[in-house]
């Protein structure tokens, strides 16, 4: 059979052996078991890492699952099954009946977690979009995971290592008692941030990692240039890539208001604010350039987008255009409101 347009980004998987592809599929089926044993996840993780072909095969599977996303979920899957079943057979009639009694709104509460559950098993601790969670590691170090974040905890005899795989975490390290004082470090694709008795936040971005220090100090080592690291003192934050550390700037505790479920804005541009708010929901937020530079201040809950946008509409004279989409949340676009002359207590002059 010929290839599929779905393989566009994973063409290199055509070069793996059928045996490897077969094994990858068996892993997928095994991981979709309920429940999945932690040993299985560990065994699968090491299988993936054992050979580049294993990873190639796995990425193909993931990307195809992504292509199936429009058909997954309670509303569309019933329609898909009705359409794909042979006509005039019992299955088709049953499926059509299921379709007609479905009253669910499309796109609601069908998280990625359900359609690609293995994602949450690839890491030791993970939060969904909009969720935040605190945990205490074996040595007493406290970690708070922000929205849509994932970490692996790898403690060994000589080192306490946390790998940040996605999102953002806030760390309060514990002083180790007893004979050993093991270094504590957070590792990302861009390098490591080692704690020197401290409270600090680490956020993984597309091309860099941002570290903000609130107490003590943190030693940053870019992955490819460990010699030119930097020790960042409390009250400072800095971005680093795998090649180097950028000029530090001031860190503010407002940045970590998310641990209490808030975004604190002080004269923040609307465009920056909605980019931040968008991290906490499955909807896609955007704004018209005409309103992007409007400034706002205040504390806003991260878990109620509709309420926040309603409040902003009133105070910033903007309107929300809502488009319901099938499987990617809603598209919410902010545009200038009907009454641009109205003064507002939150609106500040730029």
């Amino acid at each position: 059979m010929s290839a599929s347009p779905w393989y566009g980004a994973t063409r290199d998987a055509a070069a793996v052996s059928p045996a490897v592809a077969q094994r990858a599929l068996e892993w997928l089926v095994q991981l979709q078991d309920d429940p999945v044993a932690p040993e299985t996840v560990r065994a699968w993780t090491s299988w993936r890492a054992a050979h580049p072909d294993h990873e190639r095969a796995w990425l193909r599977i993931e990307s195809v699952q992504g292509r199936l996303q429009p058909l997954a979920g309670p509303g569309s899957s019933a329609i898909a099954q009705a359409a794909l079943a042979a006509p005039a057979c019992a299955q088709r009639r049953r499926a059509l009946k299921a379709v007609s009694v479905l009253g669910i709104t499309i796109g609601a509460a069908w998280g990625v977690g359900q359609s690609a559950p293995w994602r949450s098993w690839t890491s030791d601790h993970r939060t969904a979009v909009g969720e935040h969670r605190s945990l205490t590691l074996p040595d007493g170090t406290r970690v708070v995971l922000n929205t849509d974040s994932a970490i692996d905890v790898r403690y060994s005899a000589g080192l306490r290592r946390v790998a940040l795989i996605a999102g953002e975490i806030l760390i309060t390290t514990a002083q180790e008692t007893g004979g050993s004082h093991r270094p504590f470090l957070v590792e990302t694709a861009h390098g490591t941030a080692r704690a020197l008795g401290t409270e600090y936040a680490v956020r993984l971005l597309d091309t860099s990692t941002e570290v903000s220090v609130f107490e003590g100090a943190v030693q940053i080592r870019p992955r490819d240039d460990g010699a030119h690291g930097l020790t960042l003192q409390a009250g400072l934050r800095a971005h680093y890539s795998s090649r180097g550390v950028a000029q530090p700037a001031a860190a503010e505790t407002n940045q970590i208001a998310w641990k209490d479920g808030f975004i604190v804005a002080r004269g923040m541009r609307l465009a920056d604010f909605i980019a931040e708010l968008g991290r906490y929901c499955r909807d896609t937020l955007s704004c018209d350039p005409a309103v992007a530079d409007r400034l706002l201040s205040g504390s806003f809950p991260v878990n109620n987008v509709d309420k926040v946008l309603a409040a902003l509409s009133a105070t910033l004279n903007i309107r929300v255009e809502t488009e319901t989409r099938l499987w990617r949340g809603r598209r919410l676009h902010l545009i200038a409101g009907p009454d641009t002359a109205r003064p507002s207590p939150l609106l500040q002059k730029s």
């Binding site: 898909a80 379709v99 319901t324």
Partner: protein, 147 residues
């Protein structure tokens, strides 16, 4: 082709597709001893694909018409779902109905293996075998599996 389709425009479109397929195919024999027979085979294949597509599209529209939730779908979403359905149908073509059904229940509805086994009246290991089989087609149509 015109005879098979009963529509001159569609026949012309498909004839065009036939040549495109020929030009871009690497499976043309070096020498065509029976060019007319060869063309007929390719054309027949396209005609049957065409009907398959039409049939699925009709079934999809029928399902949409009966689904109260679908009234909110944008035309773009409807089109994306249809394209995805067509490709999935193509990839799963030729599999036994029960294997397809196991795949749909598990991968689209998110049913557990045990639930699928119960629905289809087969054992859990059988469900897993079905799933691997359907997933081979879906994820690795460019590889040849044995067995």
């Amino acid at each position: 082709m015109r005879r098979r389709l009963g529509n001159a425009d569609q026949a012309e479109d498909l004839a065009h597709d036939t040549f495109i397929r020929l030009l871009s195919s690497d499976r043309i024999p070096a020498t065509l001893t029976e060019p007319r027979a060869f063309l007929t085979t390719v054309a027949q294949h396209l005609v049957s694909n065409h009907w398959r597509r039409e049939k699925l599209e009709r079934a999809y529209l029928e399902a949409l018409a009966q689904a109260p939730q679908a009234v909110h779908w944008s035309p773009e979403d409807r089109a994306i779902v249809l394209e995805t359905l067509l490709e999935l149908d193509r990839l799963l073509d030729g599999l036994p109905a029960i294997v397809r059904q196991a795949f749909l229940l598990s991968q689209l509805d998110g049913h557990t293996h045990a639930q699928v086994a119960e629905t289809l009246g087969v054992s859990v290991p059988t469900v897993k075998r079905y799933l691997v089989k359907a997933l081979q087609r879906c994820c690795f149509a460019d590889l040849s599996f044995t067995g």
